[in-house]
Symmetry: T
Subunit: 148 residues, 12 copies
């Protein structure tokens, strides 16, 4: 059994009430529940942390080193400029999955570029709440592949 | 029960033998099997078509109108310039998922931009063979959400 | 009496049902009829060909060399990248008119640039079905000017 | 019966003598005659105004509001930078057609971009004198479509 | 009576002593006093918060949801890259005013672009201390307009 | 007592009837009244001039030299390219305030860049009619600061 | 004996009092005198015209066709965007010289590009008042070369 | 003895009659003969295929895997955008030579960039018909070097 | 004797274990020891602070005003976007040295631009652990030069 | 009496025989004679030096420091990239004039940018042989202005 | 019999020992021997010159005018910026072939653009030592074609 | 004991008298003395060479191969375009340090990019004369690390 760190970036604490046309009506707690449930089915544990502070997320990624097997990360708006997160993820040897609720490529131009994407294993975008199930599922699969 | 059209773009017929370090060792037949199996579990059918010809893929997308409920599409190198596919997908009302075996954002600069991404519902990249399972799973979920 | 080749690019076979707010409700058959009727009034013949395949359109342009006096071409999405069509048109000595149903300059940025425009005689965009009448009318006028 | 405002931008008063290889040998008066004749056949009236002054053209467009049903506009070099004309046209609710004698896309790079194109209904370029007939014809057709 | 949140970004705590030629000699406390006084005259309350931490400002904006009627925000250098603030402001339904002491357009090129400007109602720049009075005045006016 | 020149650029004479969703329903006369009233309260006079002609605005700015103490300028679409106005303003030593009714940064990309902004003291955008009151208020404050 | 049209663009009427550090202390009248004197020595006549209106300058260039042998033009800020002047100059067959008092390449970036330079015979920049003597001298020399 | 696949892209079937000033007067059949003769002298065989269809060329490259030792490819206009050919060539382990009859760097800007060049061993451009002899010669030499 | 503030940006706390091929095997504690020792030899004191939080670093720089004589700063990934640090450093009047362990110009493109470099006195990059000795040495030298 | 250094960059030794349509038929010796004669009339001396070596030109500029009063420089193709010449000229306190025989702005795009222009006093381009007379005349005038 | 000038740019004197993985193990002397031998078979002579000095290469190209029939040029790193060589080659009327040992398009981005390519007849890149044989062969063929 | 080659690029021979506000008042001889002294303390020898000729510097770098252990290089303005130096340095296996007296990132935009930086081990900029001591110190340290 491994621990999967589920990380949520800025403004994701408002999910459910924030622009539901874009982000859906599921709350962050519900998303965490979906992720945990998915992980549990695969024999894994989910640890969740949300922050509006880039530094807290860097700290959390560092703290996951040697302790968590995978990170599933929705960086929110930090996707587009927070290179300190890029560097932090590069120091983490485990499985790394980027997840977005909406499809950034169908939105404003500044959302089309992610500084996180080049350092993760895979990306899941646009499936709203279901994306969290898929991302954890993907992380679990990569974990299994690596341990065999 | 619905039909999901699984579309594979240029050079994907070589999967398994083509640059396995990048694309993995699974063959296209095996990927189709994975997709079919995943769809079957959700009560759906997979129809597969691969072509190195942009026009054939446009024809296939048009042919899916009113007949298929979803398209799961790995456009291969067509992702980066084939706007005729962009327009074709825009005429298809069903669920649309883009899938890539590798993570294009960790490769050459010209692979970072997809002309397909703005017109799909969601995107799954970087999970190799497992990505097909996840993409079909995602498509099935979106289908269920839309019919409820 | 001369033959005018009316060429229709990818996805134009769907006209009438495809995004009617953008492209109008006239079908491709109706557009061909409008073009033929306009040509007939000027003593010319229209030959029509539609394809979703860039190569077929290159073949058709080559086949028109020495046989047709003019080409009226709606390249659809191929307008924006299909340089093989640019080169093919450059080998055709007759009258060349580009036509678009919608006004690409009022749509997405990638539709603002046409690789076809630099090698045609004139361009007609934004008049929906009436554009086909105008384009054939224009071609006929240029034919008359060249033969006098 | 409606009034169509035919607007001619800077240097078009020199037509006939100015670079005939590019702009043809027809004079502006002859172009106005062509336009008037075309309009008359469709039961409309043409009012013409030429100016080398951007402000005069803004005034003319404003003056057409509520009085003219359509504007056929050859903005000349103002096409490429005169955003005050863009804004003026946006305040005019009638039919708007942009016309150029030559094909700007086959000329210098700075002529490829028009700040007028995004706010008109349709565009006719490259047909020399015949373009005025086609543009008025197009305007008349759009007028008929809107009133039916 | 409504509460207006006055938010000050990084380095603004140094006002009065920091580059007075650029930012003037008024201290942040004095600016808050000006803002409060202006608000009071309009029957409103000012709540002030300054932080050098992007995350704190995101928290503050979120905390203002449903509690404050307006935000007057001087984002300082965060104007130019802190998209997490862009997203946070987008979740706030009240009146939003951006204020800068200096005129960024008369300074270094990197100060000309603000990621905050597209999501606010209005902007006041270049008036030094008086800008705070004007910004609060503007916010009060917009509040009144919206409630009538 | 000083004279403040209120300058209005192209198409602003249509205010009230032009795109009210963007520019509000206040007419230019009403805006001038607001500005005059505001100035009067501060002991100043407003002189107004509107033109669709760039040259007239250059003339007006030059004519204000040595006669007016401040210019409050809404350059309309001239903001984006009319460098002759930039140069004219640079020759005026008094207070200079740029004002826009709408927030250009929330509109088309070509409205994001102003060639006027680098040569004014301050900018007020997005507050509709109230912006004129604020801009005159700001100009009056700067005048007072300079004379003390 | 030939007539040389000396054309002065926007804000040049202020020479002598406008930013003397940049443009020198010579007035426009003095510059015209210098030009006339230089021309007289070569047996030519100078006709001068200054305007802040782009359209007036277009009119003047058109009016010089067939009447003047050369144009010496200081386009001021119109250098950087007024393509209507580019087109007007292209219709003038005589000698064309561009002159600037200051050296635009040593100033702001937007002054480095001139839309006038590609259509003139030669350019003289940076010599303040002496530049007018040199430009007229150059024009006279080109006239002599062309008539021999 | 090895087989060298000679591949010709779009519009090359017209060689001899198409723009002879640019492409020379040699026909494609004559070029194939030159290539075959050159190969024969080195003990190799040439197999030729021309297509205006990108997909056919992808198929041909795939079909050469494990059967041909080298590909000599004139991609014509596909050079500039057909990334599916880039990917196809990357799957071919043998010798790869790009050949162009004209020198693209001395032509239009869009011909300066080739998406094929980064994945071939060497390039021969600008020598007209002789280029085919040189390209086959080069391929034969690389084959010999690799087998020794 | 003066105090030199040694500031370390995000992820530098992991030095020694993080990508040793890039950053070397020296730990941050060892780097601080090197810096302290170097400073001591010059009669100065080193105070060290590391943070993954941009705001903490802004606070630290502000706190050094009037208390520390120099700042030696390794901004890590903040180098590339954290303009709040640029502004904070601009308010510090003492000696400012930027130091990087690796040579950013030999790495990914996004590491080539530093928003910190324009506001420091000097820069030392690429010398791994020795760079800290050199940077403190440089700071001490600048301190001596300024006090003489 | 002062010495004016006339400097000629690469390939100018071929003048007279090199592309006469572009550069005229005057030889470099004749240009030097024109320059010398012009200088003599103003009481100055011309010293000439031509080199195809950037370093020689840097040496010559350095050697002119304190010995020559002015440099008239035709940098030829070095205009577009040789920043070592930019720096060398910046160390020369005397009068600096850049001269070109042709008008670079009417030629290839890469000739539009000069790295020399920002550091000279004035520029004379496009007047062929007469340009040398004008440039020396300009230099002499600037010398006189500076000594009075 | 004609003389072919073989020109080698900077750092090519180190061939054989410099980065053999990129440039092969053949020395420059061996390349010259290959070129001479190839030329001899076609009845021509090779004259070789290598220099690390751009000026020497300009001199050599000029010296070849009227004396050599062809230039085969490996400009090394000068390919990417040395416009003085571009101009020099433009003055040489004979056959001009550019040759590179490696394939620059498969290397760093700055190697993709050559300022030499637009002024040569043809280009041979990527064939290591064999490229010299091919380039001389190509030059000989062009010489024969031009003399027949 | 090893030899360190100290290389100085164009215009550095003027140090001490050239723009002292930017480059300090130390002469090149004094800088060489500083470097030699620093090297001597570490048991090394300094050999110095200055040139305004790019080719001489390429020769010098080549001549250092196998004879010098390190190069300390101030490329001056060659930093920004001289790719021949980039290539030459790439062939030198020893320690490579780039040094600049001023901080190029605080100066003109064209000084921000160095084509030398990607191929050196480390960089020291902005410390004036002290930079030479630091650069030699750094080189010596890298030498020691490599030999242990």
């Amino acid at each position: 059994m491994a621990t999967i760190l589920l990380l949520s970036g800025p403004n994701l604490n408002l999910l459910g009430e924030r622009e539901p046309a874009v982000y859906g009506t599921t709350t962050l707690d519900e998303l965490v529940a979906i992720a945990s449930e998915t992980a549990a089915k695969r024999g894994h544990d989910v640890e969740h942390m949300q922050s509006n502070h880039e530094g807290d997320l860097v700290d959390a990624i560092q703290g996951a080193r040697g302790r968590c097997a995978a990170i599933v990360f929705n960086p929110g708006a930090f996707s587009h400029y927070a290179y300190a997160l890029t560097d932090a993820l590069a120091t983490f040897d485990g499985v790394k999955v980027e997840v977005h609720l909406s499809n950034p490529h169908a939105r404003e131009a500044w959302r089309h570029h992610s500084v996180i994407s080049p350092v993760v294993d895979g990306i899941v975008t646009g499936f709203q709440a279901a994306g969290y199930r898929l991302a954890v599922d993907a992380a679990a699969t990569l974990l299994e592949e690596r341990t065999t």
